[in-house]
């Protein structure tokens, strides 16, 4: 037997309690790993490396539409090959299923997104059918939509001129992704911008939520971004230009200060963990007062006994923490793969380092008081049950 063996043996003296506590630690560090990764993503600076498309939205918020008349100016910027635009439709399928659905100019969209694979005939049908709609394969499969069907869709934002929020579109095309990564993103649908402009009751004609700039070469992303924003600076329609990835992130950021939310969640998680593990350790030491006294009787110093209790706390948190972080790594990698790299949740070194620091601090926090109690106990009193 070794001192380490003694610590481990004590840890599993009450298996159920230890396993339940371990599960709490695992869950806490799983959340820590994932949320810290989310935080890293949201706190990361703009990354233009390898970007082939840029998104232009109103500087205030993408919910403030920009005039479509900006298109020629944007297309004139060196490095911009083609410009498409998208207007959020707020589509709802059946009673309450929200859809990712935009109004767009079919030809421009086709030019900017060669990653969508759809027969030319269907692209042409989309361009010439005013009530036409195209849907991603995933979406069409999910709701059983077939080509030629009339699809009734409500908008939770835009009513038609007659006041009804119920719309009906002709499904003229179903597109797929060019590879596995893009196939996973075929959960959205598009309708014609012209028809939307004419038929909706609101005064948003000639305006759109954002532009998508297809670049002539990836290396120009940062320069084009600066040029666009400088071009519309101090105008009524100031812009914010960013990569597709950053746009997706800022889309989520509309919810609120993600960093703050994450910090509060983590605070709550770790505070709860502190109470759970702290209680376990305190209980564990309280139950073993006579045994700790015997250890001291046998010649283990006060410091050794303190070390044993701290080591138990550390082992418990370390074991659970490492499993939690490992699970977070796996889950993060799966999310990253599942979203085609749009959300890079895989844990990087900094998250692991922070996790290890959290393990050390948490061990000290939960172990110190019981350890000090064990260190201070007087043999004679403890053996007498006082």
């Amino acid at each position: 037997m070794t001192r380490t063996g003694w610590v481990i043996a004590n840890l599993f003296r009450r298996r159920t309690r230890t396993v339940l506590t371990l599960l709490s630690v695992i869950m806490a560090f799983l959340l820590f790993g994932l949320l810290q990764s989310v935080n890293t993503i949201f706190n990361a600076g703009a990354d233009f490396v390898g970007a082939t498309r840029l998104f232009v939205q109103a500087r205030v918020s993408f919910t403030s539409p920009l005039p479509v008349s900006m298109v020629p100016k944007l297309e004139a910027i060196p490095g911009v090959a083609r410009v498409a635009y998208q207007q959020w439709f707020g589509g709802v399928w059946q009673e309450n299923t929200p859809l990712i659905m935009f109004a767009t100019d079919p030809q421009r969209y086709h030019d900017v997104y060669p990653e969508w694979i759809m027969p030319d005939a269907q692209w042409q049908a989309f361009a010439r059918t005013r009530t036409g709609m195209i849907a991603g394969k995933q979406l069409a499969d999910q709701y059983g939509w077939k080509l030629g069907q009339k699809i009734p869709i409500s908008s939770n934002i835009y009513p038609q001129k007659n006041g009804s929020k119920s719309w009906a579109f002709d499904l003229v095309g179903i597109f797929d992704g060019k590879d596995e990564e893009w196939k996973k993103r075929t959960n959205l649908a598009f309708v014609q911008q012209d028809y939307f402009d004419e038929a909706n009751q609101f005064n948003v004609k000639g305006r759109t939520n954002f532009f998508i700039l297809k670049l002539t070469e990836p290396g120009k992303a940062q320069a084009v971004s600066r040029t666009v924003d400088a071009m519309f600076e101090n105008s009524p329609d100031e812009t914010k230009t960013q990569t597709e990835k950053d746009f997706n992130i800022s889309f989520v950021k509309q919810i609120g200060d993600i960093g703050l939310i994450v910090r509060w969640i983590l605070f709550a998680v770790f505070f709860t963990l502190l109470l759970v593990v702290g209680n376990t350790m305190a209980q564990s030491v309280r139950e073993r007062i006579p045994e700790l006294a015997v250890l001291k009787t046998l010649g283990f110093s006060d410091r050794s006994v303190l070390g044993f209790v701290l080591a138990e706390a550390f082992a418990l948190v370390l074991f659970g923490g490492l499993i939690g972080l490992a699970l977070a790594s796996i889950a993060g990698a799966m999310v990253e793969k599942g979203t085609g790299g749009q959300f890079q949740l895989a844990l990087d070194g900094s998250v692991w380092l922070l996790g290890l620091l959290a393990i050390v601090l948490m061990s000290a926090a939960v172990g110190l008081l019981p350890a000090l109690r064990a260190r201070r106990l007087r043999i004679v009193d403890a053996l007498a049950g006082r």
């Binding site: 070794t2 043996a9 004590n10 006579p290 046998l298 010649g299 110093s301 043999i379 053996l383």
Partner: protein, 238 residues
């Protein structure tokens, strides 16, 4: 202390010298004097039974001799070393190398096997794992429990648990064994077996033994019996 005083002995040099020891406990605002200037010599190789009514100070005296507690006043010397002035850390180190303890309720570690329990004190030595295992095997052999080495305390009878406790007390080869009511939780037959074993340790292995007991039959196994009452030594019985 002279040999003519209660507890004195002329057999050989004293293993334990207790000189004018007073012990006062503080319970809240109350001060309780348990031992009143007690003086006692226990020669090397002796087997002493300490008897007396509850509250007479037997266990307090045993704790002081075993270095589990410090006297309020007076001197305690064990195997030539003054232990009443040692710090808590020094005392722990001293205990590890000089005293073995046997308790009434065995006080084994329930999560460890018999052999791991016996090995526990050896973690404080520099012995190799192989040497530790060897010493543990010898100690368990001495108490007749070699075949129960892999059993945990809950798988052993009371008598067997006490044998494991005795093996644990012996394994680091201390000169002094202090036993606090070692048979208080055992039936007569098992108690006699345990006391017989303790007697063997004294007679054949030369261990000095100080044993607190309420049981006159247990005291008969000792070489002599000392009686305490109200914190003072009354007499020495042959």
């Amino acid at each position: 202390m002279s040999n003519s005083e209660p507890g004195g002995n002329s057999m050989s040099e004293p293993m334990v010298q207790v000189h004018n020891v007073t012990k006062v406990y503080e319970r809240g605002k109350q001060k309780i004097e348990v031992l009143h200037g007690l003086t006692l010599d226990i020669p090397r190789g002796d087997f002493v039974a300490l008897m007396g009514p509850s509250g007479s100070g037997k266990t307090t005296l045993l704790n002081l001799i075993g270095g589990l507690d410090q006297p309020t006043a007076g001197e305690i010397t064990v195997a030539g070393r003054r232990i009443d002035q040692l710090s808590s850390g020094q005392l722990a180190h001293w205990r590890a190398h000089n005293v073995g303890f046997v308790f009434q309720f065995y006080n084994l570690m329930p999560v460890l096997t018999a052999e791991a329990n016996v090995e526990l004190p050896l973690l404080l030595t520099r012995l190799s794992a192989a040497q530790r295992r060897k010493n543990v095997a010898v100690a368990l052999e001495v108490v007749g429990l070699a075949d129960r080495a892999k059993h945990k305390p809950k798988e052993l009878s009371g008598g067997q648990e006490q044998r494991v406790a005795i093996a644990r007390a012996l394994v680091s080869d201390p000169q002094l064994l202090v036993c606090d009511e070692p048979t208080g939780d055992l039936d007569r037959k098992t108690a006699d077996e345990i006391l017989g074993l303790v007697q063997v340790l004294n007679r054949e292995h030369g261990k000095t033994i100080v044993m607190v007991t309420h049981d006159p039959k247990a005291a008969e196994f000792a070489r002599r019996t000392l009686h305490l009452e109200k914190g003072q030594l009354l007499e020495q019985a042959a």
